[in-house]
């Protein structure tokens, strides 16, 4: 266990070191989310009716959830690159704990997700977002986001270990995450959607997390959303982490 933690930290450090050295990747999780916030707030914001809220207040929890859901993308991309460049072979030939290569990735994502959340919150606060709850709920919300992002990273780890190239990881990630985050309460009220989409949106874990975030930051009624989001995150980790590790054990570098 000690060994697993040490190895995981060494590899997480490696994954974080490379980010500032790959400016294209760094832009992906700094400038791009800011752009999305501004586009949604000022292009769609005027047209979307959100009873009881300013659209900015409605939007910020939703768009931060979307950003965190995409955060694991760095893991898929990185693993896919490591496979193609033979690094996974090297790691597998070392006396390293077997799950640490993946855990090093998903742990690094927690750090990048945190940076992303801070950037988006600051952007939101500048353009008029305000918390309607206390510090404890604000921090609790951030922790919930990071937990959910960690779960999403394990899904991306499976994608990264399954596809043939970083480009394919890119394609599959977007095709999967875009509908899931859009058919939710992240950007529009669910009851504005056609019935079929509404049915999906209501059971979508993204909706549950977004509603939990609105409870923690905007003081909307809680329902079961906070616990629901925690359970969803733990279930996703319990399903996808073992699949990712099994794929890693069998991985042959391409």
């Amino acid at each position: 266990m000690r060994r697993f933690l040490d190895d995981t930290l060494v590899l997480a450090e490696r994954n974080l070191k490379r980010l500032p050295r790959q400016p294209d990747l760094a832009i992906g999780f700094t400038i791009q989310p800011i752009m999305f916030v501004l586009l949604f707030a000022y292009v769609f914001g005027g047209a979307i009716v959100t009873p009881g809220f300013d659209y900015i207040d409605f939007l910020i929890p939703g768009i931060i959830v979307q950003n965190v859901a995409f955060g694991g993308f760095v893991t898929a991309l990185g693993l896919s690159e490591d496979l193609n460049k033979g690094l996974i072979d090297r790691f597998r030939s070392l006396p390293t704990s077997r799950a640490s290569v993946l855990a090093g990735r998903t742990l690094a994502d927690v750090v990048t997700n945190f940076i992303g959340v801070v950037i988006l919150l600051v952007t939101g606060l500048i353009i008029g977002f305000s918390f309607m709850t206390g510090a404890a709920q604000v921090v609790g919300g951030i922790l919930l986001l990071l937990l959910f992002g960690f779960a999403s990273s394990w899904i991306f780890a499976v994608i990264g270990m399954s596809v043939s190239s970083p480009e394919a990881a890119n394609g599959i990630g977007f095709t999967l995450i875009f509908p899931i985050t859009f058919i939710s309460s992240a950007f529009v009220p669910v009851d504005s959607m056609p019935d079929a989409l509404q049915a999906f949106a209501e059971v979508n874990p993204v909706t549950i997390l977004v509603d939990a975030m609105r409870h923690l930051w905007l003081d909307t009624p809680a329902g079961n959303n906070v616990w629901g989001a925690v359970v969803w995150a733990l279930v996703l980790i319990a399903i996808f982490a073992p699949i990712a590790v099994a794929k890693y054990r069998k991985a042959a570098s391409r």
Binding site: R3, R14, K85, D89, R90, R92, S93, P95, S253, R254
Partner: protein
């Protein structure tokens, strides 16, 4: 560097290794043995199964049948302990391009379980040994192909492994980098490291390997020292390129007394087997001269590993690589 100097257990021994990918038999009952402190060259065309063999012996892949021990440990039952005793440098330089040379080696050292401080000291030693000290703080993506291979080999040596696996270590390198890498490998062997090295280059196997296993279509088709393998295709021969190809028969008659075997004629080239190097060229010159045959070039040829491969498989190494169906083996082997 010997993993256990007191024992004479081989550094690597594999028995009856089989591995198939779908319908393709990548390895079809392979036996290999590497004595401690020696180099085994595994020679064969692309797709012969060389990489698959390395992957099985380094615990990256599990064989369908057969057993293997490396550094005294079983590749399946003792896989975790075994990984601490081996170094692997694969076909591709497996380095992180977004880390510096130092960072790459420190990371590998720490994954072998070294402390940060120890890993740094070791990284410094290796960079110096591989002539990379000046580039140690540069990102690896700025390195040339030769530098990447050297860094990759350095990474394989971080933990001073007693057994080293090198999968086509010089493929794609320029001639100078190749020779430098060969010298490094020779130095390691001199210190007692046991090495299994795959290659498709005969000169590489000839220079580095104590013993050579020729592998083709998943089977070891010959094994021995370079000299033993060469002796299987016959001894020395004198080759004469004639000024006028029409003189072929005349030249053959003149040279025939030099050997028990008849000379062969191919265009302007006349070949004859000889027992010894000494005096053979002078003898041939005299005989051709007194027969009135002019030659542009007369030389002694020793058999090469190319000849060995040709004799064993009926194919030349290069032709074997161009073989359509062996390409699939390689795909599968990866």
């Amino acid at each position: 560097m010997h993993f256990d100097p007191s024992s004479d257990e081989p550094a690597i021994s594999a028995t009856g290794i089989r591995k198939h990918f779908g319908d393709v038999r990548a390895l079809d009952g392979v036996d290999l043995e590497v004595a401690q402190g020696t180099v085994l060259g595994v020679l064969g065309p692309n797709g012969a199964g060389k990489t698959t063999a390395i992957r099985i012996l380094t615990t990256l892949l599990r064989a369908d049948a057969g057993s293997a021990r490396v550094a005294g440990l079983d590749v399946v039952d003792d896989a975790a302990a075994l990984r601490a005793k081996i170094g692997l440098a694969g076909q591709y330089a497996a380095i992180d391009e977004n880390l510096t040379g130092v960072e790459n080696l420190v990371m590998v050292g720490r994954l072998y379980g070294m402390s940060r401080a120890d890993a740094k000291v070791r990284a410094g030693e290796l960079l110096e040994g591989f002539n990379l000290s000046d580039a140690g703080d540069r990102l690896a993506r700025t390195y040339s192909g030769g530098m990447r291979r050297r860094l990759d080999l350095a990474a394989a040596l971080v933990a001073r492994p007693p057994v080293l696996f090198l999968d086509e270590p010089t493929t794609g390198l320029d001639p100078r980098s190749r020779i430098e890498l060969w010298e490094t490998i020779e130095l390691l062997v001199g210190e007692g490291t046991s090495v299994m090295l795959t290659t498709q280059y005969l000169d590489e196997a000839d220079r580095l390997a104590d013993r050579i296993a020729v592998i083709d279509l998943g089977k070891v088709i010959a094994e021995g020292t370079a000299a033993e393998l060469k002796s299987r295709v016959g001894g020395l021969r004198v080759e004469a390129h004639l000024a006028d190809p029409a003189d072929g028969d005349e030249a053959a008659r003149a040279l025939a007394p030099m050997s028990d075997e008849q000379p062969s004629i191919e265009g302007d080239l006349v070949r004859i087997r000889v027992a010894s190097e000494t005096g053979a060229i002078m003898d041939a010159v005299r005989r051709l001269d007194s027969a009135g045959v002019a030659a542009n070039d007369i030389s002694i040829k020793a058999p090469t590993l190319d000849d060995v491969f040709l004799t064993l498989t009926g194919r030349e190494l290069v032709a074997a690589e161009a073989d359509g169906d062996t390409g699939e083996h390689e795909e599968a082997a990866r």
